[in-house]
């Protein structure tokens, strides 16, 4: 039931592949800690691949928002990739779809980051 996270690097971008549930007490804390760890290591260009996230609750949505603002406040960029229809709908309902930079193709997502 819990969330799975794995990270990989592509062209200086850290891709976090998330799977499972991002909910209170399950994925939310894992996501927060993982983003903090990346920022602590200076990895500020982060792409959250949500393709295998099959469930997210309001706590999980809040955690995505917090991750977005935390990364942005440290001068980084956090984008979302491969939203499932449920997650897409939830971001629409909560008016967050236009807040996040949402991509549906990994290669173009990588290319969209500002490269120093």
């Amino acid at each position: 039931m819990s969330m799975k996270i794995s990270t990989r690097q592509v062209d200086g971008i850290t891709i976090m592949d998330l799977g499972g549930r991002i909910t209170l007490g399950e994925g939310s804390v894992q996501l927060r800690d993982s983003v903090r760890d990346l920022l602590a290591k200076g990895q500020k260009k982060i792409l959250l691949n949500l393709g295998d996230v099959n469930y997210i609750d309001s706590s999980g949505i809040g955690e995505l928002v917090s991750a977005y603002t935390t990364v942005r406040n440290q001068g980084g960029e956090l984008k979302l990739l491969n939203l499932t229809r449920k997650v897409h709908d939830l971001l629409q309902i909560t008016k967050l779809y236009t807040v996040f930079d949402v991509k549906d193709d990994e290669a173009s997502a990588i290319a969209s980051y500002a490269h120093a």
Partner: protein, 146 residues
């Protein structure tokens, strides 16, 4: 519409995430049994989960002495789910609008909004102490289109 007979099941649960998960799973099973489609099952079970999270986290504040009750009833025309807590009470009128521009980037405050988005009726009742949240989904109606 289903031909199911009215039946009510009530659970008294401790203030834990396990209880939240149990309530969510029960709602999912109830909705599935009532014959609603997959999207509506998702909406109903999520709304009920959010109500249970409110009860356990914001109402009872994980207090081991306090209980959440959850009742599930299929009246034949409606699914009626009631969640109660023993907390300090909740006045929905005081909740900030999560869609307001100044609140969009807040890390919390979307639970009640999602419940209202996904259910046909939502009623709050003050219990002194505590809150009762009643969530109703009319059977046989079109999806909310949310």
């Amino acid at each position: 519409m289903t031909g199911q007979q009215a039946s009510r099941v009530t659970y008294t649960l401790d203030s834990s995430l396990d209880s939240v998960n149990k309530v969510e799973q029960t709602a999912e099973q109830m909705a599935r049994k009532a014959g609603v489609d997959e999207d509506e099952i998702f909406r109903i079970s999520m709304a009920v989960r959010e109500a249970a999270v409110n009860a356990v986290l914001h109402g009872n504040a994980y207090d081991p002495e306090k209980r959440m009750t959850a009742s599930f009833e299929n009246t034949g025309s409606d699914l009626v789910i009631r969640i109660t807590d023993e907390g300090k009470g909740l006045d929905p009128a005081t909740l900030p609008d999560p869609l307001a521009p100044e609140n969009l980037l807040r890390g919390s405050g979307r639970g009640i909004f999602l419940i209202r988005s996904f259910m046909d009726e939502v009623h709050f009742k003050q219990l002194h102490p505590g809150t009762e949240l009643t969530l109703i989904k009319h059977l046989g109606t079109a999806p909310t289109g949310a």
